[in-house]
């Protein structure tokens, strides 16, 4: 096996880490939305921390190893349209996902405060958890990630 074979395998593993983290984020959001009390919201959002780490590993791994492969393999160039499209989609997914994370982070902070102050159900917290802006950002990040997968398989223009 060549070094490029190993890099390709690690690139694929990073892609799995990235998508697995997206799956995890959606489960966390669904769990937090269905929680009745602030402590439930806080507990559900606490689950997102390992997915943040996994997302970071997947994002950096796919980009760095993907760029390596674009330079190293015959037949591919970094300026190929499908590779540029993947990099743009990667940036969109990361930016939208990061902003969604900040929005949900604020909700987690509020949930922690409310949980420590009697843990009574709070309509403001429930509304914040259903914030359409945060949901839309997570949708954008997920769709961009899915488009990267489609781009990697179909390789339009390659």
């Amino acid at each position: 096996m060549s070094l490029d074979d190993w890099i390709l395998a690690l690139h694929l593993l990073a892609a799995f880490a990235l998508v697995a983290s997206m799956v995890g984020f959606w489960v966390v959001v669904a769990a937090a939305r269905s929680a009745e009390r602030p402590s439930g919201v806080q507990a559900a959002l606490r689950l997102s921390l390992p997915f943040v780490v996994l997302n970071g590993i997947g994002a950096v791994g796919t980009l760095v190893l993907g760029i390596w492969l674009a330079f190293s393999l015959d037949g591919y160039e970094i300026w190929d349209g499908w590779i540029i499209a993947a990099i743009v989609l990667w940036a969109v997914a990361g930016a939208a996902g990061g902003r969604a994370g900040r929005e949900y982070g604020q909700v987690a902070e509020r949930a922690g405060e409310l949980a420590g102050a009697g843990d009574a159900p709070d309509t403001g917290l429930a509304a914040a958890m259903r914030n359409p802006r945060a949901t839309a950002l997570l949708v954008v990040s997920t769709v961009a990630t899915l488009l990267i997968l489609i781009d990697m398989i179909w390789k339009p223009g390659a």
Partner: protein, 154 residues
């Protein structure tokens, strides 16, 4: 070289590959979510239940899509026309790990189902720990499978 094989792959194989890879990604996502939810549950019955539900609504459909996609692309690539002795090692690794992972997933789902039912009576923690161990073993098998699908050792 696998990258060369990917580059010259006929376009009508792509959908089968997409179903296979997306199914595998959802499967891995379901397994990771299950492990994270159970490990970080701190005994919270709701989070333990979420762990098992992740396995049921993500892991199981993901496994089915992964296996269906695998069979689909296997037939398109014509591996079935070759004697099994001529099949490359990565294909064998893929089969073994996906089948082993499927058995582990099924066992985890059954343990989890019983465990989640017992949560109402304050029990089930041991069974959900078993779900976690089975999920971790399945995840390890799938990491090997992903490596084999990427590196394609002969």
């Amino acid at each position: 070289m696998p990258s060369l094989a990917l580059a010259i792959r006929p376009d009508d194989w792509n959908l089968a590959l997409f179903v296979h890879v997306l199914g595998a990604m959802v499967l891995v996502g379901g397994l990771v979510t299950c492990v994270v939810a159970i490990v970080l549950s701190r005994g919270d019955a709701r989070l333990l239940r979420i762990g098992w539900i992740s396995l049921l609504v993500l892991g199981l459909p993901g496994w089915i899509a992964m296996r269906a996609g695998a069979e689909w692309i296997y037939s398109k690539e014509g591996w079935g026309d070759l004697p099994s002795s001529d099949e490359p090692a990565w294909l064998g690794i893929g089969y073994i790990t996906s089948e082993l992972g499927g058995v582990l997933l099924l066992a985890a789902l059954i343990c989890g189902w019983i465990g989640v039912r017992r949560l109402r009576d304050g029990g089930g923690a041991g069974l959900l720990m078993a779900v976690n161990i089975l999920s971790v073993i399945a995840l390890a098998a799938y990491v090997v499978a992903i490596w084999a699908m990427g590196a394609k050792p002969s």
